[in-house]
């Protein structure tokens, strides 16, 4: 079955419609910047200072209370949405379901963004950025986005989010929303990459993917484990106690992602590949963070 078939495209359209109705047009393209300026939507008042443009003086307040206050408006501008998609071999472990899942989620979010006239760019990375889709805009560009995603192949011997983030920062002129789709099994640690994005005023959103098998392995006894990225081997004797410790360690890892994102007010979504991707998109839209 093709990765993006007609059924998938129907779901994308559905998600796009649902997103408009639920959020009343306050999605990505209408997302307000934090800059105040020449927009048309009222933001707040401030004390008048000599030299201010008198067109923005709130005469009604002055007439009623005698206070001289200046009206401030929020300035609107296009949102840049960057996708950092992990294509390391750990994502394609097993039957590759994690890799496919990441690409479907990226396609869905890109479709919603393009439909709302946002600019979308994609970066595939493992130990460095391997593929890139330049900034593009308009709903009619969705096919090129899908083609880009479909042509991605797993590669690389390690995962280095920091290298990918650095490359993204250097290649883009404007900051924006960065959606990181990865399992975050980064030998160097995922924090450095996200820190890099934060420092450069990008707004990262982390979508961590893993399978149920990774969270809860069931092997017992003497076994030889092979790293799918590096090919390293480990001869281990796995006992029930070790399995319990593994599960605890994995849970700690997931919680460390949550705590990092909370600490820096980043939005974060964790999911297993068991959850249908459209359910995940709806869940993301309902939560504050990416969509508000």
């Amino acid at each position: 079955m093709a990765l993006f078939d007609s059924e998938f495209l129907k779901r994308l359209e559905y998600l796009s419609l649902v997103s408009r109705r639920v959020f009343r047009g306050r999605l990505l393209a209408q997302r307000r910047t934090k800059q105040l300026g020449g927009g048309i939507e009222f933001a707040d008042h401030r004390e008048y200072s000599p030299g201010d443009d008198l067109r923005y003086l709130d005469w009604n307040i002055y007439a009623r209370y005698g206070d001289v206050l200046l009206k401030r408006f929020q300035e609107e501008e296009d949102l840049h949405v960057y996708f950092l998609i992990d294509v390391s071999r750990s994502m394609s472990h097993g039957s590759g379901e994690k890799f496919d899942y990441a690409r479907r989620v990226a396609a869905a979010l890109a479709y919603i963004a393009l439909a709302d006239m946002d600019r979308v760019s994609m970066f595939a990375y493992s130990d460095a950025v391997t593929e890139m889709l330049p900034l593009t805009r308009g709903k009619d560009r969705i096919l090129s986005v899908l083609r880009f995603l479909e042509n991605l192949k797993p590669s690389g011997a390690t995962t280095r989010l920091q290298a990918a983030a650095t490359s993204l920062v250097h290649r883009t002129s404007r900051s924006g929303l960065v959606i990181v789709l990865s399992d975050l099994y980064d030998q160097q640690g995922f924090r450095a990459g996200l820190d890099m994005l934060r420092y450069r005023r990008f707004e990262p959103h982390v979508i961590q993917l893993h399978t149920a098998q990774e969270a809860n392995p069931t092997w017992l006894g003497d076994i030889e484990l092979e790293d799918s990225e590096s090919g390293d081997l480990r001869k281990l004797t796995i006992t029930e106690r070790k399995l319990r410790q593994y599960r605890e360690l994995f849970t700690e890892f997931l919680e460390s992602i949550d705590s990092y994102c909370r600490m820096y007010s980043l939005s974060c979504t964790r999911t297993t590949t068991d959850l249908p991707f459209d359910e995940l998109i709806l869940r993301m839209m309902r939560t504050a963070g990416v969509t508000t």
């Binding site: 990774e214 799918s228 006992t239």
Partner: protein, 664 residues
Amino acid sequence: MNFLEFANPSGWWWLALAIPVLLLYILKIRLRRQQVPTLLFWDQLFDEKKPRAWWQRLRHLLSLLLQFAFLALVVSALVDPLWSWQREQARRIVLVVDNSASMRAAEAEGTTRLDEAKQAAASLVQSLRSEDRMAVLSTAGRPEVVIGMTDHQRSLLDAISGIPATDGPTAVAAAVTAAERLLADYEHGEILVITDGCFDDLEALKANPRVTLYGVGSNQDNVAITRYQVRRSLLDAVGYQVLIDVTNFSDSEKQCRVELTLGEELVDVLPLDLKPGETVSRFVDHTSATGGELHAKLDVLDALGTDNHALAVLPERMPVRVQLVTQGNLFLKGVLESIPLVDLQITSEAPSVAPPGGILVLDKFVPAQLPSGRVVVVDPQTATDAWTLGEPLAQPIVAKVDKQSPLVQHVRLDNVLFPGARQMTFTGEAEPLIQDPLDGPLFARLKRPGGDAVVLACNLEQGDLPLRIAFPVLMKNTIEWFQGNTGELRPAMTTGEMLAVDVSTVRDGQLAAPTESVMPTSEVVQVQAVEEANKQAAQPLELVSPSRQITPLARTGEQVTLGPLLETGLWTVRPASSASGRPELTPTATKSEGDETNVESDIFIACNLVDPAESDLRPRGELEVVQGRSLAILGGQSLWFYLTLVAALLIAGEWWLYQRRIVG
């Protein structure tokens, strides 16, 4: 001298199993491979707790060594090593299993005491060490070696399971004596007795240091027939008397009934009310000409059923053929017809010999040559070769009666005249039984080689003797005296008793000769009798038990010795050739017309328990109970036992290592 020997050296071949163990180990260390997305977590997990001791790295190798050690120990156990000191300390044991009648008592859950004893014996056998040897004796009636000294446990168990339940008396003391003889060559031999303790010399056995008594069974109530005999009446040819004793062997009062049946016919029912420990005796008088098996059945539900039945053989009364030669004496005819079992035939001419097995009665007319055989002469009118007649007696009244003679028993002749009596002079030996005042014989017995004769000198038609009671009594006495079986007794045996039986009457293929002392006169008949006697001596006999088991009998002359009989019921001595093609007949069976096959000559012997010692199911003392594997003493086991024990510990160690590795 070898300090260590191996009972089964071929067991070393099992060491070849080490090869597959090694192959399996090699296959095991080629681990299965599993791909994971990252080793980050696994490295973190195992780097935290690296093996802290050097031996933990060798756990796999240790596991292999443990498996080799386990195999070595199991193979060592299979070759059954035996230290020399163990061989020297081998034990010799004689196991005495009581299989007397009391061991048939029912215990809980439908088992008998003998079943429990067999189970206990089996557990003792299973606890034998390999170098120990055991013999098994049974004790019913007399000690019997069930199996000789052996160390083969399967044979011992089979022999124990084959010990039969019997109705015999306990012979534990005799069995212990026999066991001591078996152990005469062994200084430390042991005698183990498994019994219910229902015999009297229990305490004496307990005092014997070589004897260990183990008890089975519980204290049980029982009511039993403790004596049972029947015999023909002394006074009445068809009458019989039964003596029966019933004892209550319990601590409570019992009510029961005894039913007596002769064949299929109910004879009597005796209700009994028995106090604890009481013995009640009953006599029963009854009449029957046929005879047969007389059963006594105690109508009570108790632990032992064998002693609730008893059996006796009532001798059959055969009809006696009486030939009356008379010209019409109604008195004589009437009185002979009134005597039981008399088959009367009246003729007018006297034969030269009395009917075979029968009696010839001559009225008035007597041939010059008195016929041979058993003859009664009434009012002889002529002289014969046995006597001469003189003048009529002047005073034919009774003056003297020989009261010792059975012929005149119960005959009262006061003031009775014997008209027509004449002076008689006997030519042979004679015994006057009734005499007149001048010692003239009125009633006499003549002793003859060809058969005794009785003479009554009295004209019945002229005197009042026929009108007196004395006359039928006198004639009945005479007929029964000739029959010679008044008060006949065939004693019922007690189980365990020995009995010598006269088998001269046991014949096959023809009718038995009369048991009475009929002596043929002719030489031809004498020759036939000698040949018949020789044939009898050569005829093999067999003993048939109540359960139809046949045992050949050793015959010495005209007697065989039976016993001890260990089964209650009816035993039969019969010719060995009659084993096939002959109907099984009981003492009451009748012979069909023209059937020349002789079964009436078979000897039937009733055998009953009637043993108060066996029927009392209360043990006479405290006995030790067999515990499982009583003979297994710590330190006394074979070496293989400990090797297997260590092997089991190694298996446990291997299991522990596995748990440590896998389950954690």
